[in-house]
């Protein structure tokens, strides 16, 4: 991943960790292990805001930044839209909601058990 992408990721991690919106200064303070200029952090936060991942609000003279959604929400979106390849959102949603039903799962579990009984388990 390129450097800019890596920075975006690091900054999102910082924002997700924090319970409160943070100023640029506070975000920089969390990234002391990297030698980052104040303007770099601001630029990356700007990019993230433009992409819609970060929201900002004025607090006095400074801007405060917070993530637009929780990390879990984005992971869920990732998993859901993985099947949106075909653009058929409706089908994607029904498939996501419909897991293998109880009785079907039992049948599959039995089949799996029978298979792994036949030969020594290959699980490490």
């Amino acid at each position: 991943m390129n450097r800019l992408g890596e920075l975006e990721r690091a900054i999102m991690d910082v924002l997700w960790e924090s319970a409160e919106p943070m100023t640029v200064r506070q975000v920089s303070a969390c990234l002391t292990d990297r030698d980052l200029a104040h303007t770099t952090v601001m630029t990356v936060l700007d990019r993230l805001a433009k992409k819609g991942f970060v929201r900002r609000e004025r607090a006095g003279r400074a801007w405060r930044y917070r993530p637009a959604a929780t990390r879990e929400a984005y992971v869920a979106e990732l998993m859901l839209t993985a099947l949106d390849e075909t653009g058929d959102r409706q089908a994607a949603l029904t498939r996501f909601a419909r897991s293998v039903s109880g009785s079907e799962a039992d049948v599959l579990r039995e089949a799996l058990a029978a298979l792994t009984r036949e030969a020594p388990s290959s699980r490490t």
């Binding site: 991943m1 992408g5 975006e8 990721r9 999102m12 992409k51 991942f53 990390r71 984005y74 992971v75 869920a76 979106e77 990732l78 998993m79 859901l80 839209t81 993985a82 099947l83 949106d84 390849e85 075909t86 653009g87 058929d88 994607a92 498939r95 996501f96 909601a97 419909r98 897991s99 293998v100 039903s101 079907e104 799962a105 049948v107 599959l108 579990r109 089949a111 799996l112 298979l115 792994t116 030969a119 388990s121 290959s122 699980r123 490490t124």
Partner: protein, 324 residues
């Protein structure tokens, strides 16, 4: 002209019937690649034949030999020359009757259908590119590597899943749940399956069928075609994965994810698991007890049938216009 139109209409209807037969057939599972080629030929042939039949009707209905729609220069009421489109069959200038209205409707429908088919294909491509872009954005922020699966992106989600993001910068994504659930050998089998999807660009095979389904949501045949081609594509990737490792590992991986995956795991067209238990069972059975492949003669016949089917409407459309 009417003979060609009838022939094209027959091809169009025949494609729909053949699609229904193919949906119910058992042989495709023995040679998924051949069956996919046949599905593609059916889709292409239907599109060309239907458009051709409608356009041909629009031009040729009621036409007498040698006369077709022509542009003529006539004297208009004001005494100046004017262009005029006169219909065939002796319809006077500016005079519409039922026949010419029906012809105009057919012509318009044919052109509209062609426009719709081109449009939905473009729209489908745009939608897919947008979805992939968003996937890459999110993966950039959320995914990380793992020494267990070098070169693969891992997302921290408890439900077990594995899928690929095709395209120029293709990637394979695996959930943390899948890493926990599956053994090393099972993971290898799943990754081999996903790599086969990427290598052979199965996403391009699926695209036209998904696009057709978007345009004709109400059509059972379109839905069935999309569904069957998606399943055949999974079986094809299963076959490719089988070349690189024992089939048993992939079979147990599929069963494990479905039975213990941890709840609603996304099952997409190119994910390693399938939505329906019946389809999953079919794939597992196929992996463990492979049926003999189709005899070469049947394969050759099927390919030949597909080629003829695809070329039939094109041949009819290219025949000289003047034939009555």
């Amino acid at each position: 002209m009417p003979a060609i139109v009838l022939a094209l209409g027959a091809v169009s209807a025949g494609c729909v019937l053949a699609a229904r037969r193919l949906s119910g057939a058992a042989w495709p599972r023995r040679s998924p690649a051949v069956a996919i080629a046949l599905w593609q030929a059916l889709g292409l042939s239907w599109g060309l034949a239907t458009v051709g039949a409608l356009v041909g009707l629009g031009i040729g209905l009621g036409a007498r030999a040698g006369s077709g729609p022509t542009w003529r220069v006539v004297e208009s009421a004001a005494g100046r020359p004017a262009w005029l489109l006169t219909g065939a069959g002796g319809v006077a200038a500016g005079h519409w009757n039922l026949l010419s209205a029906v012809r105009a409707l057919c012509l318009a429908s044919g052109v509209a259908l062609l426009a719709v088919l081109c449009w939905i294909l473009g729209a489908a491509v745009a939608a897919v590119l947008r979805a992939r872009h968003r996937q890459r954005q999110l993966l950039g922020l959320l995914a990380h590597g793992d020494p267990k699966v070098p070169g693969v992106l891992v997302v921290d989600h408890p439900a077990a899943t594995a899928y690929c993001v095709p395209g120029l910068r293709a990637s394979i994504v695996v959930s943390a749940g899948a890493l926990d659930l599956l053994s090393a050998a099972e993971l290898d089998a799943v990754l081999a399956h996903e790599r086969a999807h990427l290598r052979e660009r199965h996403d391009l095979v699926l695209l036209p069928f998904a696009a057709l389904l978007r345009a004709f949501r109400w059509s059972g045949t379109a839905r069935s075609a999309n569904h069957h081609v998606a399943l055949l594509v999974e079986m094809l990737a299963d076959d490719r994965a089988r070349r690189r490792g024992p089939a048993r590992e992939l079979a147990t991986a599929l069963l494990r994810v479905a039975a213990y995956g941890g709840g609603p795991a996304p099952a997409g067209a190119l994910a390693a698991d399938t939505a329906s238990a019946a389809e999953l069972t079919a794939r597992v059975t196929r992996l463990l007890r492979p049926q003999p492949r189709l005899p070469v003669l049947l394969v050759v016949l099927a390919i030949a049938a597909a080629a003829i089917l695809a070329l039939l409407p094109a041949a009819a459309l290219l025949l000289p216009w003047g034939i009555p």
